[in-house]
Symmetry: C2
Subunit: 203 residues, 2 copies
């Protein structure tokens, strides 16, 4: 039985997003990343700005955490949940809806946690050693080594805060995934080939 | 290029040893586990009892740590290193020698760390969720659930102490391996198939 849903958690700078895109293309699966956000926005009354920042940067999102952590309702109107919780719940709902629509690859957004009890989900973690990540971020974002390091540290911290806050699990821990692959050892294309073979052959 | 050396780190009760045995058989590679110990013993003057306990149980080995941790030479004769350090060094030497002799699968013994700079090594981590591990240990060791849990906890603790003491890395962390696979998601045979395919196809 093929894996119908593939979630990809990834360290920043590991090439996990590229793995996901190519894997979806190879398997002819739908690919969801910002699309998840767009749908979540369509189904809620929370402005797009909030979603754009959730789970992707430590800065703005964390300031929302601080503002709303004690249960402040913020601009949420009649909903009494803190805003970050509302965002997480709406995103979770959207992820479950997308997963029900057909085979797909979902990047980030704690989808591995949201779909943890779904039987035909392959939960993948993509990581890399620090040198590879710095090299990739320097090239992709046209940064110095120092700049790339700072960016990696900042984005990792933001993702970890978001993930751990809502899932209670440690971020980037293989033990909460089905398979974890290093793109320092394998190229992006090799990683895609390995995962496509697994998704096609094994449940 | 095929991976010539495959190291397998594993959580106790994950079936990692069985994966290693079957993988070696499938690839026609040598398989090393207690063999590593035997050779180490042959090349040293330290009694087999010490080796049998290193890296495999928290109890005896840890008492040696406590006894020798401050540099006590113990029965080591002219060698002034603490005994656990000597054991680790001799085992490391043996692992490197085995790796130089031809394609092989090496289970445990921090081989992933010892061979970390070798280019054609595939560093594998095998893990499983707690339910799978308890179930496997209950069946294999004829234990109650409580007994299996206690055994898992004790052996994991011993392995972690040993690994972290000598490598400085966190034990069972995917990030110090090339690939990590859950035997809760994949059967032992599926895991062997996945790894054999990777070892044959990718460097």
């Amino acid at each position: 039985m093929a894996s119908k849903i593939i979630t990809i958690s990834r360290q920043y700078g590991s090439g996990g997003r590229e793995v996901g895109e190519k894997l979806a293309e190879k398997l002819n699966y739908a690919y969801y990343d910002k699309e998840v956000i767009r749908r979540a926005v369509e189904e809620s009354d929370i402005s797009e700005e909030f979603f754009e920042n959730s789970g992707e940067s430590a800065g703005k999102m964390f300031s929302y955490f601080l503002t709303f952590a004690n249960g402040g309702g913020g601009t949420a109107g009649e909903d009494t949940l803190p805003l970050p919780d509302r965002i997480f719940l709406i995103q979770s709902k959207v992820i479950k809806k997308l997963a029900s629509e057909g085979p797909c690859v979902i990047i980030g957004r704690s989808a591995d946690y949201v779909l943890r009890d779904y039987p035909d989900v392959l939960k993948v973690l993509i990581y890399a050693d620090n040198d590879s990540r710095v090299h990739r971020v320097m090239k992709r974002n046209n940064l110095t080594e120092k700049g790339a390091l700072a960016r990696i540290k900042k984005i990792d911290k933001g993702r970890a805060l978001y993930y751990e806050q809502f899932t209670g699990n440690k971020w980037c821990d293989a033990l909460s995934h089905d398979i974890a692959i290093s793109t320092s050892k394998f190229s992006i294309n090799e990683t895609v080939d390995i995962l496509a073979e697994i998704a096609k052959t094994h449940s």
